[in-house]
């Protein structure tokens, strides 16, 4: 990178009160979403038929208790580590972790597995958003990557065995997933770059195409003959991610999580310390200025989109190689969760790590909520939208903040916060 560019880059980062501000906005958005979620749970409790009141306020019986729900949502995802005898508010103290708690429990493994896939989905969306491209098609790209990985590995896996076989097959599987996802994303990428076709619409339409095509291929050509469900036969064990630390029956591999974290750091490095990353960021902030400064707009759009699709495709490959062990139609909506993860993280790859974990907890916790209470797991779907809505309106929080702290006290800080 040339020296003047470095200087510009430094200024962009130094303007950095915006980083803290973004974090505050994300936290506030999260808090507000929970608040609205609480109201929704109470309201849903009123609508629920034949529900027994779990709590009552002012004589109105509510079928669901929000505290129980959020307790199950967040702590359930870790396998309920808290000791029920630990009640500091009542003055009863005991060891905070309940006796017999296994930190490597199945629910926690599930949380980490969900997190791993979400990290890829989140960073896929983040890199596109940073380039100023609204890639809503991470879902479709993830499905295509997952399907391609399964279809390529299935015929060759039996022929390459042993530890070396595992390394070869996993590398190949991730590579195929990335290539397939990237190629599928190249369609809306090229349509946007060269024909100016709105990428929001094309990527959403291609999500439908991906789902239907996967259904067609799996139900007609690659169906497991011994199963009623639309799924392929299982990959042999040596073609899937090996388990370390966690028990083998749990669908989580620390190796895959490490790979995800390394990918996040790599994308962070690419964005901040390479010329492609510089092109992507400047195109995202000021497309006209970037083009004037010599950035090839078409090529940047295309490469941003392909990179995004490749990451989503790798997420799909990890989903097949770690969680499923084959391909099944009806892939969970990781791609849409990825949008929330990325927006919550301010489209920052490192932030995606934390937001991804939070969403992994929500997804896994929603299953605990579903089993333990009558509140449906779709609650997380609502939170997903609410979080995006609240993060999208920083002005709301600024006005709110301005009301608490009068302008006079903020003199001198104005320049920092205003040009965000």
């Amino acid at each position: 990178m040339k020296a003047p560019d470095r200087l510009v880059d430094l200024f962009v980062r130094l303007r950095g009160a915006s980083g803290t501000e973004r974090l505050l906005i994300s936290l506030a958005a999260l808090f507000l979403s929970m608040l609205v979620g609480t109201v929704l749970i109470l309201f849903a409790g009123l609508l629920a038929e034949n529900g027994q009141p779990a709590m009552s306020v002012f004589g109105i019986g509510f079928a669901y208790n929000p505290l129980t729900i959020f307790d199950k949502l967040f702590l359930g995802a870790f396998g309920d580590p808290l000791n029920p005898a630990f009640r500091p508010l009542q003055g009863e103290f005991a060891w905070i972790i309940r006796p017999g708690f296994d930190p490597l429990n199945g629910q926690f493994a599930n949380t980490m597995a969900e997190t791993t896939v979400l990290l890829f989905a989140g960073v896929a969306v983040a890199i596109a958003f940073r380039a100023g491209i609204f890639n809503i098609g991470a879902q479709g790209q993830l499905v295509v990557g997952a399907l391609a990985t399964a279809l390529v590995l299935l015929p060759i896996a039996p022929h390459i065995t042993g530890p070396v076989g595992t390394i070869v097959l996993l590398t190949l599987g991730l590579l195929v997933g990335g290539l397939a996802g990237g190629a599928f994303a190249a369609i809306p990428g090229a349509l946007l770059a060269y024909l100016e076709a709105n990428e929001v619409i094309t990527t959403i339409m291609l999500n439908f195409v991906a789902t239907s095509t996967a259904l067609y291929l799996v139900s007609t050509h690659f169906k497991d003959p011994n199963s009623f469900a639309n799924q392929t036969v299982a990959l042999p064990d040596h073609a899937t991610f090996p388990s370390f630390i966690f028990a083998a029956r749990q669908d989580f591999s620390v190796l895959a999580l490490l790979f995800a974290i390394v990918s996040l750091v790599a994308i962070w490095y690419l964005l901040n310390h390479t010329s492609l990353g510089y092109d992507i960021r400047t195109s995202g902030i000021q497309p006209d200025a970037a083009e004037y400064g010599g950035v090839n707009a078409e090529r940047t759009i295309l490469s941003g989109m392909v990179l995004s699709g490749a990451l989503a495709g790798i997420g799909g490959a990890v989903y097949v190689l770690m969680i499923l062990g084959n391909f099944q139609v009806g892939v969970p909506s990781y791609g849409f969760d990825g949008i929330t993860v990325s927006i919550l993280a301010g489209n920052n790859p490192i932030g995606v790590g934390f937001a991804g974990l939070l969403f992994g907890v929500l997804k896994s916790g929603s299953i605990v909520v579903d089993v333990g209470t009558d509140v449906p797991p779709e609650l997380v779907g609502v939170l997903r939208g609410l979080i995006i809505l609240f993060v999208a309106m920083p002005e709301f929080f600024r006005m709110f903040g301005a009301r608490i702290i009068p302008d006079s006290q903020l003199n001198g800080y104005d320049e920092v916060t205003d040009d965000e």
């Binding site: 929704l40 849903a44 609508l47 629920a48 038929e49 609204f134 809503i136 369609i187 809306p188 349509l191 024909l195 100016e196 076709a197 709105n198 929001v200 619409i201 094309t202 959403i204 339409m205 291609l206 439908f208 195409v209 239907s212 095509t213 259904l215 067609y216 139900s219 007609t220 009806g330 849409f336 949008i339 929330t340 927006i343 009558d374 509140v375 449906p376 779709e378 609650l379 997380v380 779907g381 609502v382 939170l383 997903r384 939208g385 609410l386 995006i388 809505l389 993060v391 999208a392 309106m393 002005e395 709301f396 006005m399």
Partner: protein
């Protein structure tokens, strides 16, 4: 025809650009299928001809047009006023659910319609506040509206009906004009749900409102040159609120009609709305923000969907169902690629600060 009128017809054709070519290609293709159908009725194309000329195909195309056309009209008003409403899909979903729920509770389809419209209008109002008052990025706020509805409708359905799909309720009955309904093919126009008639009225009314009324001029000015509108003493944000709320009302009619014509809300996967809100956006872009153009584009997409359904049922080309189902979506992508860069209203997507504050 004199030479000059021929020349003006040709120049109109060129002005319409890609739209005219798509229309011409569609007509030629239909004529080709017609010829094959007449001379070789036994072939696959002959069977396709039968489907295309069947009264029930037109009827289902009209029914499928309703949600797309209403959402497209709503989208035109919002975007013309400068607020890109990409959350139309969410408005359709929320109206579809509440339409059925209120019908279930009250037993009256029309109260159901009204409640669906109300729900969609409230959600569009929230979207309006977020975009206009709190200056959110319109695309991201629109995505949020979609995702909220996509989560909320199945959530409520699970809470109330213990499943993603609601129970069946009474549905909208079609309204038949005797004698006229017996005309081959076009008879479908005279035996349809009242909402289908309302759709044609709404298209005409929207065209009139945009082109012939003061409100229409304000909406266009608010999107093209908000400063001028402000100078003329009309509040830009009020006009934008009105346009966004109008998009909620119109989408609400479309969404409630979608579920109430079936008498059930289906909340699996992408729900029964299944991308219709996004197809509506393409319909009005293809129609160049003209309500009549948007209606024609809607008929093209809905017609394809109707033929696609008939092909699945009739098993004509022996193409698997799951692939036939992708035809409308692929067409939308192709159309969008052909239309390419659309001229957005100049101030679309921008916030407007009134100087008075």
């Amino acid at each position: 025809m004199s030479e000059s009128s021929l020349r003006s017809a040709v120049s109109t054709f060129h002005e319409l650009g890609i739209r005219a070519y798509v229309a011409l290609a569609t007509v030629l293709f239909l004529a080709f299928i017609g010829l094959v159908g007449v001379f070789n009725p036994e072939s696959s194309l002959g069977a396709l001809f039968d489907i295309l000329t069947d009264k029930s195909t037109l009827a289902s195309a009209l029914r499928l047009s309703v949600p797309i056309a209403f959402a497209a009209l709503g989208g035109i008003f919002a975007e013309k006023s400068g607020v890109i409403n990409i959350g139309l899909e969410g408005l359709l979903i929320i109206a579809a659910f509440f339409g059925v729920y209120a019908t279930d509770v009250t037993g009256n389809v029309w109260i159901g319609m009204g409640t669906g419209v109300l729900a969609s209008t409230l959600l569009s109002g929230l979207f309006g506040v977020v975009c206009i008052e709190y200056k959110a990025d319109q695309i991201i706020a629109g995505l949020a509206v979609w995702l909220i509805a996509l989560g909320l409708a199945p959530f409520l359905s699970q809470v109330i009906y213990n499943g993603p799909n609601t129970e069946s309720v009474s549905s909208l009955q079609s309204f038949t004009i005797p004698v006229l309904a017996d005309i081959p093919f076009f008879g479908a126009l005279f035996s349809a749900s009242p909402i289908v008639y309302l759709m044609f009225i709404a298209v005409a009314a929207s065209w009139y409102t945009l082109n012939r009324t003061a409100f229409g001029r304000w909406v266009i000015a608010s999107g093209e040159n908000p400063k001028a509108l402000d100078t003329a003493g009309v509040s830009v944000s009020r006009v934008r609120y009105a346009a966004v709320l109008l998009s909620g009302v119109l989408s609400g009619i479309g969404g409630a009609a979608l579920s109430l014509s079936l008498g059930q809300f289906i909340g699996n996967g992408a729900t029964m709305v299944n991308g219709k809100g996004f197809i509506a956006i393409v319909a009005y872009l293809f129609g160049n923000y003209n309500p009549i153009g948007a209606m024609l584009a809607t008929l093209l997409f809905a017609g394809l969907e109707a033929v696609q359904i008939a092909l699945q049922v009739g098993d004509v080309f022996a193409i698997p169902q799951s692939l036939v189902r992708t035809i409308p979506y692929i067409t939308v992508v192709v159309v969008l690629a052909l239309v390419g860069h659309t001229r957005l209203p100049a101030a679309a997507g921008d916030h407007y600060e009134s100087g008075e504050e």
